[in-house]
């Protein structure tokens, strides 16, 4: 092995993540005149959740109207703020929600000016595609002079004298570690979808940045809140995890049935059904309702429920679909075979799948973490959306990315280049190369499969004490006993996927453990966190965030009160569905899906 310190790459600002948040951060930092290096686990702009987003970008309706779209001229920032905080069941960090509402319009406008494709618009959103967002940002980042390195997984952060000093990466194609030395680091690594199967994310999302931040001593919060997209295809396997039917259900209609053929959503309050099917509240409502049916034994053979087009005439249904998806083509996928199935009115197995993580790294309004020099942006952070996200995560990533880029550049201008401690690198390399060096041990593929199956069963949209305790016990055991014994069959260093999976498991396991422990601790139901054994929202005791940080080798949990700037939360303990109904009815007079 070549001496590590001869392979140091030095930059002012290191951006980790090649999706929308990372690219937007790179653009802003580069504009400020510092050197920027962006490291992406896949190919920047061609990987991550951004590319797979449907996608809409949200902004206030009045600004949208001013930009020449119909929008909603009667909209105000106050109204939108009200809607985001009530959708979030008041758990939102209102300071961050205000930043989101304030900056959304100018960030979206920028993308429009840079050539973003727009297919349609509604009151508070423009409809574009994940490909177009990623493409526009990638081109811009290159123009601004950001340097990009692809197919490198950042394994951990480097620290020096209590500040961030860079990161250690693994070049996945060559199997060599890379030392990145920088004055500031921006984490923009998205969620940890890979903990679940099925999931609605892309394959590489294993929470690498969130887990690295935790190991480095950063605070995480709200880790129990996970949005499960509803109506995600479970079967056939080739479409497993695809959100196309979710999109079709919200734009063209259809029915969700259990195995007895019952339209189970109609059991719920009409207000909840109305908002919960016609707006993006659908993820929260339909996923919980579906999970309850599945738990009661009324699920499909592959553990889901059913989608069918219902009573609507096929011609009308197809017309709505193909006005957006010509020839039944969604992204690069030809869904004409699905069209035949739907036309025959054959039910398709669908269900909840992990789609968005409300929890993550704690940041302030400058996107600063509690570690000097460490910033974070996008889905890997927490706060804007509270307990339930309805407004767009794509807007979150560009708003927070721009701030993180600006603030990290300012920070970098005022500090010297940190020293790299070789001892820290040696220790990390021992961990990284462990699975390759071990002769026998635990197989990463088998362990990952087992974890994904249990996560799906025990930490889905509906939670209960017994399941959480079992799962926590399992995860603690895996963390202490199995992770140090991970061993790959192939010992080849070059593009060894089993090895990549072993490194990802380190992150998935700790994040699941933190999430399950937070879910157990939160003895109430709020937003996307539904406790069947605590089916009420407790505004007297639980208007607080669960914070976790590492002490020694163990996660330690505390709480902090929610951050309020202008909207006072409700009081009292309310049945969950009543609280949801109340939050839905608190929506302003601005229509649309958000």
């Amino acid at each position: 092995m070549v001496s590590t310190l001869s392979r140091i790459v030095t930059t002012d600002v290191l951006v980790v993540g090649g999706g929308g948040a990372g690219l937007r951060a790179a653009i802003e930092a580069a504009r400020k005149g510092v050197n920027v290096l962006l490291v992406s686990k896949g190919r920047a702009g061609w990987s991550g959740a951004t590319l797979l987003a449907g996608a809409d970008l949200t902004l206030d309706g009045r600004s949208l109207h001013e930009y020449g779209f119909p929008g909603a001229p009667n909209d105000t920032l106050e109204k939108w703020m009200n809607d985001i905080v009530t959708q979030g069941f008041y758990l939102n960090n209102q300071r961050l929600a205000e930043v989101y509402v304030r900056d959304a319009a100018k960030r979206v406008k920028e993308l429009l000016d840079w050539g973003l494709k727009v297919f349609a618009s509604e009151e508070r959103a423009i409809e574009t595609s994940g490909e177009s967002i990623a493409n526009v940002l990638l081109n811009r980042a290159k123009e601004c002079g950001a340097e990009i390195i692809n197919d490198v997984m950042v394994v951990d952060l480097l620290l020096s004298e209590r500040r961030v000093a860079g990161a250690l990466g693994l070049n996945l194609k060559t199997g060599e570690t890379m030392v990145f030395r920088s004055k500031a680091v921006i984490l923009a690594t998205g969620g940890w979808h890979k903990a679940y199967d099925p999931n609605a994310g892309s394959r590489e999302l294993s929470g690498d940045g969130i887990a690295a931040a935790y190991r480095a001593g950063a605070n995480l919060a709200n880790m129990e809140f996970i949005t499960f997209c509803c109506n995600v295809i479970y079967w056939p396997p080739k479409w497993r995890g695809n959100i196309f039917l979710y999109i079709l259900h919200s734009m063209a209609g259809g029915r969700i049935l259990n195995s007895k053929g019952e339209d189970f959503l109609s059991k719920y309050d009409p207000v909840i059904v109305k908002y919960g099917t016609s707006t993006e509240w659908n993820k929260c409502f339909i996923s919980i309702a579906s999970a309850l049916e599945i738990m009661e034994g009324k699920g499909s053979p592959h553990g889901g429920v059913y989608y069918e087009i219902g009573d609507i005439a096929w011609e009308e249904y197809e017309k709505r679909v193909i006005s957006f998806y010509r020839n039944w083509r969604y992204k690069g996928i030809d869904f004409s075979e699905l069209a035949k199935i739907l036309k025959e009115r054959v039910p398709v197995e669908v269900g909840p799948a992990a789609e968005y993580f409300e929890g993550g790294i704690v940041v302030d309004e400058d996107m600063k973490t509690n570690i000097p020099g460490l910033f974070a942006a996008g889905e890997c952070t927490t706060g804007v959306f509270g307990a339930n996200r309805v407004a767009a995560a794509t807007t979150e990533m560009i708003v927070e990315g721009a701030i993180a880029g600006e603030k990290a550049a300012e920070y970098a201008k005022n500090v010297g280049m940190p020293e790299i401690e070789e001892k820290q690198i040696k220790k990390l390399e021992e961990r990284i190369y462990g699975p390759l060096k071990r002769k026998e041990g635990v197989k990463p593929i088998e362990l990952r499969r087992k974890i994904q199956r249990l996560a799906h069963e025990k930490l889905g949209p509906v939670r209960r004490r017994r399941d959480l305790e079992d799962f926590i016990q399992f995860l603690e055991q895996v963390r202490r006993r199995d992770l140090p014994r991970l061993c790959t069959i192939s010992k080849n260093e070059k593009y060894n996927r089993e090895w990549i999976e072993a490194l990802e498991l380190e992150n998935i396991v700790i994040l699941l453990e933190i999430s399950a422990k937070s879910a157990l601790m939160r003895t109430e139901s709020r937003g996307v966190h539904y406790r069947i054994d605590h089916p009420y929202t407790d505004n007297d005791n639980w208007l607080k965030e669960i914070i976790v940080r590492r002490v020694g080798n163990e996660p330690v949990f505390t709480t902090r009160p929610i951050t309020i700037t202008r909207m006072s939360p409700p009081k009292g303990i309310k049945p969950y569905w009543e609280m949801m109904r109340m939050m839905m009815l608190s929506h302003s007079d601005v229509g649309g899906h958000h």
Partner: protein, 114 residues
């Protein structure tokens, strides 16, 4: 249930140790609607985890182009190419192979927008 099996002939090569490429044949149960990427995933997960193909960040939506390969001699996206019978799978660029089906790509990733 009778299970149909297909033969999958895969290009294997590690330039660091092998003098020349070889082909390895795997038997894979054919599931209705399987794509080439599903077949490679099956091999990786159940038969031979040493097989290298671009998978850790493949989008599976026919967008990213990461899974571009030669299947039966034709360039295609593995994630959108259905499998109905025996196949031969090779890297799209044979002279730039890093290992097996992984090859060096420049910054010229193709765009697959509709």
């Amino acid at each position: 249930m009778s299970e149909k099996k297909i033969k999958v002939k895969v290009f294997r090569f590690d330039p660091r140790v092998d003098k020349e490429p070889r082909y390895q044949i795997y038997e894979v149960p054919l599931i209705d609607g399987m794509t080439v990427l599903d077949v490679l995933d099956y091999i990786y997960e159940n038969i031979d985890p040493s097989l290298a193909y671009y998978s850790h960040a493949a989008c599976r939506h026919g967008v990213c182009g990461g899974c571009t390969l030669l299947v039966n001699g034709k360039t295609c996206l593995a994630c959108q190419t259905p499998v109905t019978g025996d196949i031969v799978v090779e890297p799209a660029v044979k002279f730039k192979v890093i290992r097996d089906l992984i090859y060096e790509v420049g910054q010229e990733v193709k765009q697959h927008e509709e």
